[in-house]
Amino acid sequence: MRRYELMVILDPELEERTVAPSLETYLKIIKESGGKVDKLDIWGKRRMTFEMKKKSEGIYAVIDMHCEPAAIKELDRQLNLNEAVLRTKVVRPE
């Protein structure tokens, strides 16, 4: 099990209160594979320094978790399939 940190940028046109539940459904991948989600932090709307997919704003969320490498890989893959996800980043903090 490793510690991971995932940052997701979502479409700003989404309803902000639907963000947490929809992310939770994705995080089932982690829970089902035996990992655990330590923290789900939704920053909310934030202006980006440049446009992504013609959008100048994004809803940022940061998730801290412990899981197997395969589980995070699958989560990242599935998030990127979603049109409402502008960008993701997985890092392993020291």
Binding site: I9, T49, V62, R87, K89
Partner: protein, 91 residues
């Protein structure tokens, strides 16, 4: 006579060089108390980029080589996520 005066001339610049070396003072490390450079800490990273968004060299900021690597990696991560600009020539 001419050779002698030359010699005295050679000594003078040596002295001024030594003085210049003494004047060159190491900068205080601006990263004291920071053990992990997080790409989400934009306020910290902003101190290491110029007005145009370029990464400042360690010669200017006075951080160690290892820290400079961590800083540049963090800035690049932050840029990818739209937290810091790649360039801001508009300013």
């Amino acid at each position: 006579m001419g050779a002698r005066s030359n010699k005295t001339f050679k000594v003078k610049p040596k002295l001024s060089k030594a003085a210049a070396a003494k004047k060159f003072k190491k900068k205080a490390n601006p990263l004291k108390g920071v053990e992990y450079i997080d790409y989400k800490d934009i306020a910290l990273l902003r101190r290491f980029i110029s007005d145009r968004g370029k990464i400042r060299s360690s010669r200017i900021t006075g951080v160690t080589v290892q820290q400079q690597r961590q800083i540049s990696a963090a800035i690049k991560n932050a840029r990818e996520m739209g937290l810091l600009p790649y360039s801001s020539s508009a300013r």
